[in-house]
């Protein structure tokens, strides 16, 4: 066995940095290595394909057929389900709501997470405790956090309303119905979802911030650039790739999620907070119309494909530069 040509590995610990071309694993040097490799990763691939790939194809089959819970036959109906979905006011409403929900919460998440990440960048006493507190919304089960908010936004016993009344901004029985009025309900689900995702984006951005060499912003400061100029001209441009990563994950976690909506409003009042995934749930699972439910969920695919493509571009750029 010859000694390794480069025994200084540029390894990044558990962080999955792509290898540079120079240190590509040498292709299976002993006979059978390739087969062993295949035998070792095939079980995992087959499992994932069975549980993700097969249902994914089934979703397409359902969407072009007429399956309902309890029905036995299957008839091909072409794009009929998609046509009826696109014509249904409930679906149009939910698509519109999904866009508002995603854009609204992601704008808040990115601005908030960036601010918080900047504040957490430098070490200070108690940073560990602060980090634990601000991470809670992400690490605790989201359905339970959302139930906490349901109590905070309760129609009668809302603590927020108690404060508003105590400050004489509202009268007792005139206080806002956070989950009961269409516009307020939409605002509430956006804010609660923002609350849930913000910590995740914060730690991602924090990882990016700490990777910026300290001397660059310091040099800018020496040259007389203030906080805002350094931020706009140096920090943000250097953070571009990581901002993209945070945003792409945020979009996926928001556009495809129904937990917050389901717990807080069940899509109501009057479908005003119904989003695409929750509509698919109510139609396909609770309503038993598998075909139409599947057709509705499939509208998530274009978003997923676009995000996955952009994600690959970010990863690829990081690999070549």
């Amino acid at each position: 066995m010859k000694p390794a040509e480069h025994n200084v590995e540029r390894c990044g610990g558990a962080s999955a940095t792509p290898p540079s071309p120079r240190e590509r694993p040498r292709v299976a040097r002993r006979p059978g290595g390739r087969w062993l490799g295949a035998a070792m990763f095939l079980p995992a691939i087959l499992y994932v394909v069975a549980i993700i790939g097969v249902p994914f194809l089934m979703a397409f089959l359902y969407a072009v057929g007429d399956v309902r819970v309890g029905s036995v036959g299957y008839h091909f109906v072409g794009l009929e389900n998609f046509r009826s979905v696109l014509h249904s006011p409930a679906f149009r409403r939910s698509l519109f709501n999904s866009v508002i929900f995603t854009v609204g919460s992601q704008v808040l998440v990115i601005v908030g997470a960036f601010t918080l990440a900047l504040a957490l960048r430098d070490k200070f006493r108690g940073r560990g405790v602060v980090r634990f507190l601000v991470m809670l919304p992400w690490v605790a089960p989201v359905s339970l956090g959302a139930i906490g908010w349901k109590w905070i936004l309760d129609s009668l016993y809302s603590v927020i309303n108690w404060l508003l009344v105590a400050m004489h901004l509202f009268r007792q029985f005139d206080a806002p119905q956070w989950l009961g009025e269409p516009k307020l309900a939409m605002m509430s689900v956006i804010l609660v979802h923002t609350w849930h995702v913000l910590p995740f984006s914060t730690v991602i951005l924090l990882a990016g911030l700490t990777a910026i060499p300290r001397d660059i912003p310091e040099a800018a400061a020496v040259d007389g650039a203030g906080f805002w100029r350094t931020l706009v001209h140096i920090t943000i441009p250097m953070m571009r790739p990581i901002l993209n990563v945070a945003l792409l994950f945020g979009i996926i976690f928001t556009f495809t999620d129904m937990t917050v909506v389901y717990i807080l409003t069940r899509g109501g009042p009057y479908d005003s907070t119904q989003v695409v995934p929750s509509l698919a749930f109510f139609t396909g699972i609770l309503g038993g119309d598998l075909a139409e439910g599947a057709a509705i969920s499939l509208f998530l695919v274009p978003i997923l494909v676009i995000v996955a493509y952009l994600m690959l571009r970010v990863a690829h750029r990081a690999e070549v530069t």
């Binding site: 999955a16 957490l120 910590p199 389901y262 997923l304």
Partner: protein, 271 residues
């Protein structure tokens, strides 16, 4: 400086407030909770353990926690069984393909439950797993395996190849070197995956809601918000107690391993 602290305090208060509110609500008497003239921030009547007694004595909360723990353990087992060899193969044996396959696997982690739950519910009932925790045990590895493979792949790459080469010169086969050498020195990476997979199981909501209906077979994340509400009556005291007691341990453990999960998410965008 002042701006810095006001940002930190403001974010901490807003983000942690619901958990503080769960804590207060847990120990308040019902009459105190439901009197709108009371200041909700203080105890207007003596604190009570009544809600905790109700939660542990008269609901299936502990059963749900047990179901979740059992499902979590099984999912972790399946995940390790499949992800460990897969990650090793991708890190060492598949040559140029490894990285690309790794990214492809990672991307399947992004496929959301809300895309697949309708056909999967049919598959689950065909397999006769509906309304049992086996439904989630079978389905959850579909998202724990991709991410775990990705994390472990990075981990294995950081182990110097020379170590295995030396072991193989000493007579071990490639697979033997993987089992006897690589796995034992990867304990911390494996532990990361264990924690990650287990916490994902406790956090998942959509699949559990879709596949399991009976009260006795619920996972904790669905059981609490579904069955501590009778008709229109929310048992707020017990609900908040359950949310807090479930969330805190998960949050504490997850937080210890957070940096490693994040390293997996940043997909090489940070160097």
């Amino acid at each position: 400086m002042l701006g810095h602290w006001s940002v930190i305090v403001a974010f901490s208060v807003v983000l942690a407030f619901p958990f503080y509110w769960m804590l207060i609500t847990t120990f308040k008497q019902t009459s105190d909770l439901y009197d709108i003239t009371n200041n909700p921030f203080i105890f207007n009547a003596r604190p009570t353990l009544e809600h905790l007694r109700l939660l542990f004595g008269e609901t299936l909360y502990l059963r749900w926690v047990g179901n979740t723990a059992l499902a979590g353990a099984l999912v972790v087992f399946i995940t390790l069984l499949l992800a460990l060899p897969a990650a090793y193969a991708l890190a060492r044996l598949t040559g140029n393909w490894g990285q690309r396959l790794g990214i492809a696997i990672f991307l399947t982690y992004l496929v959301p439950p809300t895309l697949l739950f309708i056909p999967l519910s049919r598959v689950i009932s065909l397999l006769g797993l509906q309304d049992t925790i086996w439904s989630v045990v079978v389905v959850y590895p579909s998202f724990t395996i991709p991410f775990s493979t990705w994390l472990l792949m990075g981990f294995f790459k950081s182990i110097p190849k020379e170590l295995e080469d030396a072991a193989m010169v000493d007579g071990l086969t490639r697979f033997g070197a993987f089992v006897k050498l690589v796995i034992p020195i990867s304990v911390s990476g494996i532990l990361t995956v264990v924690i990650f997979a287990f916490t994902l199981v406790t956090q998942e909501f959509v699949y559990a809601l879709t596949f399991i209906a009976p009260e006795a077979h619920q996972m904790v994340g669905v059981g609490v918000p579904t069955f501590l509400v009778r008709g229109d009556v929310y048992y707020w005291g017990s609900l908040m107690a359950a949310c807090l007691i479930t969330s805190l341990p998960i949050a504490l453990v997850y937080n210890l391993f957070l940096d490693r999960f994040i390293a997996g998410f940043t997909v090489g965008a940070v160097k």
